[in-house]
């Protein structure tokens, strides 16, 4: 039996979308909701990600036993889909649109600015676990390009100069910008 996963307090302003408190009993409950056959794999994975915020190794181990599919095979299936993640989500999620309209209006420069300020590449979380930086193909509001979302909230007509103001409330200061 694994010890319960260390949990973290939700942030006060209620912007947190992904960080959850969960323990092994939550995993077991989530897994038990799905019938024990191969067809349950994807819905069960979605359920686990909803429960834990990501696909934790201990969660996949429980699921593997329940469905009689090896963890290795489950991992193979899950990595096929971009909807699943395998690392603990950060407190905040920033999605930077790289769709056609956003690209034309400088979305790639916005992404580069975020990468530089956060000292991460798109798809990674900052070392302090504060921010996840994601690139997305289209957020469906091309008229507002370039757009980003911060914890689900859309910020329109972005530009590199607006990046520090976006990051400041998340605890990232301009001085920490990589040199």
């Amino acid at each position: 039996m694994l010890p319960p996963f260390p949990t973290e307090k939700k942030v006060k302003n209620g912007m947190c979308t992904a960080q959850k408190d969960w323990g092994m009993q939550d995993i077991e409950a989530a897994v038990a909701r799905h019938p024990a056959h191969r067809g349950s794999l994807i819905p069960a994975l979605q359920d686990l990600q909803e429960t834990c915020g990501y696909l934790a190794p201990e969660a996949l181990a429980v699921l593997a036993k329940h469905l009689s599919i090896s963890v290795n095979e489950i991992y193979g299936v899950a990595t096929f889909y971009t909807q699943f993640r395998f690392s603990k989500p950060a407190r905040h999620k920033i999605q930077v649109c790289q769709g056609t309209a956003c690209h034309v209006r400088g979305g790639h420069m916005v992404l580069e600015e975020f990468e530089q300020m956060l000292d991460v590449k798109a798809g990674e979380a900052t070392k302090d676990g504060q921010v996840d930086l994601e690139r997305v193909a289209c957020l469906g509001c091309c008229a507002l390009a370039p757009v980003i979302t911060v914890d689900g909230l859309v910020h329109a007509n972005m530009g590199t100069r607006k990046v520090p103001a976006i990051l400041a409330p998340l605890g990232v200061k301009e001085e920490s910008k990589a040199t």
């Binding site: 190794p57 996949l60 593997a64 009689s68 599919i69 090896s70 963890v71 290795n72 095979e73 489950i74 991992y75 193979g76 299936v77 990595t79 096929f80 395998f86």
Partner: protein
């Protein structure tokens, strides 16, 4: 039912696919993802056919044969499709050698694959001789690639015991994934990620061992490329014999097929529908090929066991044992000995020694068992580590017939080397009491003999010729037993795949002592270490930077002020990664006298270069000596062409710069197999008047070899007063062949095996014209037209067996960093 394939009438059985029906008739259809033990998959699309009345090109592996079908497999349209499909399949596989114009010459000059870390071409691929992909490119006539190949730069995975995995060679056929699922139920490996990132892997980036692999080797056997390989056997070449025998390491008695080459056992494979265990598949061959095998008889003289002739050893044992006839003698063996051996042992004990003390240890499922000696025994014969030295210490005389060292050596008075398992023929009694045949497949090392023969020699010397036999079959006849090979099991119970239940002992020896890969499964066993990197702060020869500039080729900057201070263009140094590594010469590719640094370009090729490139930044080499050799004679020749290939590319720079400074017009032509293998291009372009980058597959620059580029320049009316070639012997030989009929003076930098580098040992001898030269003090540059290239090749291969043995240990290839004893750090 009957169908027509290419106009030939073929009779198919119910349930046959079109591919089955064709194969049954002996008609070949290309296929990659079909495997006899697996259900059709239909992934590779190589087996497409045309069938009348069916739309498009159905895959023959998934299309059921039907009455009256008219099938064509050899139309031009199909061949074109196959070429395209295979061309796309090969895009992520190092494919330059397959489309190389000099392939036939190259494979004639180097008939065996050469060792490497990451493989970037066929001639450094362990799978070269039995590669189905390679054969297929020939069959479908794939001569060029549709677009430049993509190399994924994946690290070579060698942190597992027994198995190397180089995913850069993988074509994603999926055979390993499917065979694993079939044989192990829940698969250990699967496709991970998608699109161009798809690769074979385990959950969360675990190693095979962490993912629960039982090391049955099914995936290695199924892999059509060199991606998955048996670390021990991979460089020994293609098996020349496949023989059927019984695995004799436990009572299971699995029917196996053995691979052997030139009398050397390489691997065991299951002859049944189930995989065998790790001990059978991997460990058995490594055990028999252990470098620690006994080779010659020995007799104790004082404190030491001294090598003697077999006759002398037999005479000594016969004389001594003659003093212990009766119950003061005991013969101790275990049930790993063949029935024939045991019959001779028993007869020797009872008839020759007139003793009742024939002790047979019955071993348990893991192969272990301990004997106890009857009271009053003063002399004993042992066929393994079956008694502790304490139990034997009170004895007057101990004779050991064995194949590997153990604590018994401390007390033994005579030792005879024994042939074991696949080196003997005879009968083996399995757990159910059925007699199984053992066949002699491989040659025992040195003067080893089957045990019955050794004991027969003693008996003869003691006046009992009745125990002398010409062959083990004569003893089998006396035993009056019949052996039967196990009928291949197609139904459970399959042999255990639980590593904790596999045999761990053979003739009293812990297998893990001699098969380092097995230590990985015992948390308490000391792990085998292939490299110990010294990282102490003080001392010279620190690696200041290390970079894998292109796959398998590393640039090392080493702190070696004494070398840097005196270095001149064309000179080399000799470097040793640790105290036991070879002394390998490396050309000085750059140096900085002020900073006291030298730069080497190192190709991972064998154990010593592997050790060197595994050293971490900040780690220290045991030794660097140099500069050695005669510097290149720098003067104004006029127009000079420099050709560089492989690791030689790094060595071209200093010579080019020096020649240009002396007023020459310098052309530099360097070759690489493909675009992802080019390096130092910018520096060499700056150091030359004309720079030509060639690639063998034409993916960038001039298509062809460096020699082709020089030839093209000559044909276009260019002329050279001197040509210099630095690279592998094959490449330098080609340059020499081009310039010899044209009488263009040509210098080559020879790279034979060296030891001291000062002209003492003679290891680096080369024949140049009528004279014998030492490359270390007379070279490295010689007149190419006078070099005996066959001799250069043969002398470089002189220790290939030892080299293969040293890289072929099954333990993971890992580095342990530790500060070393300062006594060893004194500058030489």
């Amino acid at each position: 039912m009957k169908l027509s394939i290419n106009g030939i009438e073929v009779v198919a059985q119910s349930g046959d696919t079109v591919l089955d029906a064709a194969t049954r008739k002996g008609l070949s259809i290309q296929h990659l993802c079909t495997h006899k033990a697996l259900k059709p998959f239909g992934a590779c699309r190589m087996c497409l056919v045309e069938i009348d009345g069916m739309r498009g090109y159905p895959p023959s592996c998934t299309t059921p044969a039907a009455e009256g079908m008219v099938v064509r497999t050899n139309t031009e349209a199909l061949r074109k499709l196959q070429r395209n499909i295979l061309g796309l399949t090969m895009l992520e596989h190092p494919s330059a050698c397959l489309v190389c114009g000099k392939r036939a010459r190259c494979e004639e000059y180097r008939s065996k694959p050469e060792k490497a870390g990451r493989t970037t071409g066929c001639h450094t691929c362990n799978n070269m001789k039995h590669c189905s992909v390679r054969t297929m490119t020939e069959d479908v006539g794939l001569e060029r690639l549709p677009v430049p190949p993509l190399y994924h730069e994946r690290p070579l995975e060698r942190s597992n015991p027994f198995i190397d995995r180089d995913l850069n060679l993988c074509i994603l056929c999926g055979l390993c994934v499917r065979i694993c699922k079939k044989h192990q139920g829940e698969g250990v490996i699967d496709f991970v990620q998608r699109g161009s990132h798809t690769h074979i892997g385990e959950a969360f980036g675990h190693t095979l061992k962490e993912a629960g692999c039982t090391f049955c080797g099914s995936c290695v056997d199924a892999c059509p490329t060199g991606t998955l390989s048996d670390r021990f056997a991979k460089w020994y070449g293609n098996p020349d014999h496949v023989s059927a025998t019984t695995c004799a390491f436990c009572g299971e008695g699995c029917a196996v097929l053995t691979d052997s080459v030139e009398g050397k056992l390489l691997a065991l494979h299951s002859a049944e529908s189930f995989p065998i265990c790790v001990v059978g598949r991997f460990a058995a061959a490594e055990l028999l090929n252990s470098a620690e095998r006994f080779l010659v008889p020995k007799i104790r003289v004082g404190k030491n066991l001294r090598e003697v002739t077999r006759d002398a050893a037999v005479a000594a044992v016969a004389e001594q044992l003659g003093n212990y006839r009766g119950s003061s003698f005991a013969f101790v063996c275990d049930t790993f000995s063949t029935l024939e051996d045991r019959r001779v042992f028993e007869q020797f004990t009872r008839e020759v020694m007139q003793s009742p003390n024939f002790v047979q240890v019955t071993v348990d499922a893991k192969g272990a068992g301990q004997a106890t000696l009857p009271e009053g025994v003063k002399a004993a014969v042992l066929t393994g580590a079956l008694l502790s030295p304490e139990a034997l210490r009170g004895l007057d005389y101990v004779v050991l017939i064995d194949f590997l060292p153990s604590a018994v050596l401390e007390v033994a008075h005579a030792v005879f080397p024994a042939s074991v398992f696949a080196e003997v023929s005879g009968s083996f009694s399995d757990g159910s009491g059925t007699f199984r045949p053992l066949r002699r497949i491989s040659d025992a090392p040195g003067q080893s003999l089957p045990d019955w023969q050794t004991v027969g020699l003693w008996a003869e010397a003691m006046g009992a010729p009745q125990l002398t036999f010409a062959a083990s079959e004569e003893i089998t006849a006396q035993l009056a037993i019949e052996t039967q090979a196990r009928v291949a099991r197609n139904e459970a119970p399959a042999p255990s795949q639980d590593i904790t239940k596999c045999p761990a002992t053979f003739r009293g020896h812990a297998l893990a002592t001699f098969v380092p890969g097995l230590r990985e499964f015992d948390p308490d066993a000391p792990k085998a270490v292939q490299v110990v990197a010294s990282t102490s702060e003080d001392g010279p020869f620190r690696i200041l930077s290390k970079e894998e500039i292109v796959p398998n080729t590393f640039k090392l900057v080493i702190h070696a002020p004494a070398v840097a201070k005196r270095a001149k263009a064309g000179q080399f140094c000799i470097a040793m990664a640790d105290e036991t590594s070879e002394r390998v010469p490396y050309t000085l590719c750059d140096w900085d006298a002020e900073a006291g640094t030298i730069t080497l370009v190192v190709l991972e090729k064998g154990q010593s270069s592997r050790k060197l490139i595994l050293l971490p930044e900040g780690g220290r080499l045991a030794h660097v000596t140099g500069p050695l050799g005669i510097p290149f004679e720098v003067k104004n020749y006029g127009r000079v062409a420099l050709a560089g290939g492989c690791y030689g590319v790094g060595a071209v720079g200093p010579v080019a710069r020096a020649l240009r400074a002396a007023g020459n017009h310098v052309t530099v032509a360097v070759e690489a197999r493909s675009h992802y293998l080019t390096y130092l291009s910018k520096q060499l372009a700056d150091a030359s008047d004309e720079f030509i980058q060639t690639t063998i597959d034409g993916s960038t620059g001039f298509k062809g070899h460096a020699v082709d580029a020089i030839e093209a320049n000559l044909k276009a009316g260019g002329h050279y007063d001197l040509v210099v070639a630095i690279g592998c012997p094959f490449m330098m030989m080609l340059v020499s062949e081009l310039t010899k009929p044209l009488n263009i003076p040509t210098q080559v930098s020879l790279n034979p095996i060296m030891l001291d580098g000062t002209g003492m040992c003679g290891a680096c001898r080369v024949t140049v014209g009528d004279s014998v030269k030492f490359a270390c003090v007379d070279g490295p540059f010689f007149d190419a037209h006078l070099v005996d290239w066959e001799e250069v090749r043969d002398r470089r291969q002189a220790y290939s067996h030892e080299e293969v043995q040293s890289v072929g240990l099954s333990a993971p290839v890992t580095v342990i960093e530790k500060p070393v004893d300062q006594h060893h750090c004194v500058a030489h």
